[in-house]
């Protein structure tokens, strides 16, 4: 639920891949504003540029043109400040979870915190999040010993453990069965409602999008 103020403002985003005749324009002057505390779903058909938009908004790859403001500050194209903003403000959830297979669930979360210079959190927040996501029983397990539903919920814990301003989720239910998908979406909704966690979810599933406060549709690199 939006509670005022823009947390993310993207203007005139352009992104293309390849060169010459093979050049593909994926984002074509896209504008998007996300309000603080909002749960936004971006829907669109395959190949419309949803994932590229998420990577650009997640500061993983820079746009060819356009600007992004995060919490009122302009995002640079590259350099240490870009890394710092990504570490501080963004949490990412992927379709295929992307947990590090050699680490336990707890260690996956902890290394994510360590990358962000936060180290071990002794305040019990991580344990609380595992509890909240219903995966405290798998904290010491490696991904290979978890169900896919558990893996995705651990990935959500990892994405929010550092209190990001915005969580970007790329087809988070894409690999889950309907029961696990529903459970994950309820958890994301709960996070948004109770903790005002701003969330942008990419999906092509109308049912999943139905959990969001607002749905925007994307086609050919633009929002409709």
């Amino acid at each position: 639920m939006a509670d005022g103020g823009d947390i993310l403002v993207a203007r005139n985003l352009e992104k293309s891949f390849g060169s010459g005749d093979a050049r593909v324009h994926v984002l074509r002057g896209l504008d998007l504003t996300v309000q603080r505390g909002e749960f936004l779903a971006v829907m669109g058909p395959s190949g419309c540029g949803k994932s590229t938009l998420l990577h650009v908004l997640g500061l993983v790859t820079p746009p060819d043109a356009g600007t992004i403001h995060l919490d009122g500050r302009p995002v640079p194209r590259r350099g240490g400040e870009l890394d710092r903003m990504r570490r501080a403000h963004i949490g990412l959830v992927f379709q295929r979870f992307n947990l590090i297979s050699v680490l336990s669930a707890a260690d996956n979360v902890e290394i994510s915190l360590r990358v962000r210079g936060m180290g071990h959190r002794a305040d019990g927040r991580v344990e609380q999040l595992f509890e909240q996501m219903g995966v405290s029983h798998v904290m010491r397990r490696k991904p290979g010993a978890m169900s896919i539903g558990e893996q995705q919920r651990v990935a959500v814990v990892r994405a929010i453990a550092h209190n990001p301003d915005i969580v970007l989720a790329d087809e988070p239910t894409g690999n889950l069965d309907s029961a696990n998908a529903a459970r994950l979406l309820e958890l994301l909704t709960d996070l948004n409602r109770r903790q005002h966690q701003t969330t942008v979810m990419i999906t092509h599933d109308a049912e999943a999008a139905g959990y969001a406060d607002r749905i925007v549709h994307m086609k050919d690199g633009r929002l409709l």
């Binding site: 993983v60 790859t61 890394d83 990504r86 992307n98 590090i100 707890a106």
Partner: protein, 405 residues
């Protein structure tokens, strides 16, 4: 807390074990071969330095080759001449005759020494068992009498039958050996052994650490190995009087005899000079082994980076800096190297024990110096081997790695 480099090493157990083993073999070669080559030479030098003497008189020009020279070389009369001319600074002169003989399957530099000089030559050590060879000089006296009775102007050599040489009343074919040779050859006191075409009786055993592993009567050595000429020895050890300066004394005795006179302490350096090329060879082999070990690590780490592009991309998507990624790869390399070091040092001690058990006459001296050298080489190698894979890790394209899922 799960430490990612350690977790990766533990997860890929076989690959990690092989990498550590590869490094361990390189480290083991460095430590063991250095310990073997330098240890064996050092052990010989230690033994020579145990002689209670200050100077060695040797034929002019032998230089660093003195260590493997033997046979008739210096007239025995030099001993008397040195004492006569330098009685004020010289306390004793001990002539010895050296000759290689084969015992326990290996060439041993046997030392012909008079029983009266044993105290100086052994540095005051007594025998562990038995007695000295020809302890009261009966063989020397018997042989001298024989030679005096032999007309020497025919250019012929006195021929003596084995039975004459080993006659119990004046047995000249007697040996004293050290404990290591006794162990290596399984020799016992009173046993007869065949060497240099003669049967010798072992009459004494001395603790190892004395100048040589085999001693025999000097007259025997001179007669058998010096073409019957009992007037020449190989070297002479000179003990100086208390307070005499070694340098001036060496020059004075050199001037008197016309031969090379070097401090006993110089012998170690002569050995090192003589076998310097061997160290170069051994070190070259070691360096090659280490380079192969680190190429192995580099390939391992490089493969690891290629296999884990998604893991690296996940870290980068979380905001991991290049330095963070570099540190992960370096840490993994360091951990593998540390494990390899531990394996290598353990293998070195095992190899030293095996070598000394199977070949008791060899000495492997494992020193902390060479362990430290190998540690430094290993750590530098670990960093060098990790640099390229680490750089590749920082270049992983996050979008490409994550979208190719």
């Amino acid at each position: 807390m799960g430490y990612l480099p350690l977790a990766n090493i533990l997860h890929h157990k076989l690959r990690s074990a092989l990498s550590a083993l590869g490094i361990g073999i390189g480290i083991c070669m460095l430590v063991t071969l250095s310990g073997l080559s330098r240890g064996s030479l050092s052990e010989v030098a230690d033994r020579w330095e145990s002689v209670d003497a200050d100077l060695i008189v040797m034929p002019r020009g032998w230089g660093e080759n003195a260590s493997d020279k033997s046979g008739s070389a210096l007239p025995d009369r030099y001993a008397a001449k040195i004492l006569a001319n330098h009685g004020d600074i010289v306390r004793s002169v001990v002539p010895v005759f050296t000759w290689p003989i084969k015992l326990a399957g290996q060439d041993q530099m046997a030392i012909g020494v008079d029983a009266s000089s044993w105290g100086a030559l052994s540095g005051g050590r007594g025998l562990a068992a038995g007695r000295l060879s020809d302890p009261d000089g009966r063989f020397a006296a018997w042989l001298t009498a024989k030679l005096l009775a032999f007309p020497a102007d025919h250019g012929e050599i006195l021929e003596l039958a084995e039975a004459d040489l080993s006659d119990p009343s004046h047995n000249g074919l007697e040996l004293v050996i050290d404990t290591r040779l006794a162990k290596a050859g399984g020799y016992k006191l009173g046993q007869t052994v065949r060497a240099a075409n003669h049967d010798w009786r072992i009459v004494g055993i001395v603790s190892s650490g004395v100048m040589a592993r085999v001693f025999m009567p000097r007259r025997t050595a001179q007669f058998l190995f010096g073409n019957g000429d009992v007037t020449k020895s190989t070297l002479m050890f000179v003990k100086l009087a208390a307070g005499a300066d070694v340098g001036p004394a060496a020059r004075a005795i050199g001037a008197t005899t016309g031969q090379d006179v070097v401090p006993l302490s110089r012998y170690r350096g002569m050995l090192v000079e003589k076998f310097g090329i061997m160290f170069t060879y051994v070190d070259a082999v070691n360096v090659t082994a280490l380079i192969i070990a680190f190429l192995f690590i580099m390939v391992t780490l490089y493969t690891m980076v290629l296999q884990r592009t998604r893991e690296i991309a996940i870290l980068k998507s979380s905001g991991a800096s290049d330095f963070f990624l570099l540190r992960q790869v370096l840490a993994e390399s360091m951990l593998l190297t540390a494990a390899g070091m531990a394996v290598g040092v353990a293998m070195s001690f095992l190899a030293a024990w095996l070598i000394e058990t199977l070949r008791p006459l060899l000495t492997v001296t494992i020193t902390w110096y060479w362990i430290a050298v190998s540690a430094v080489v290993a750590l530098v190698g670990a960093v060098a081997a990790a640099l390229y894979p680490a750089w590749r890790a920082t270049r992983v394209d996050v979008v490409e790695a994550l979208t190719l899922e």
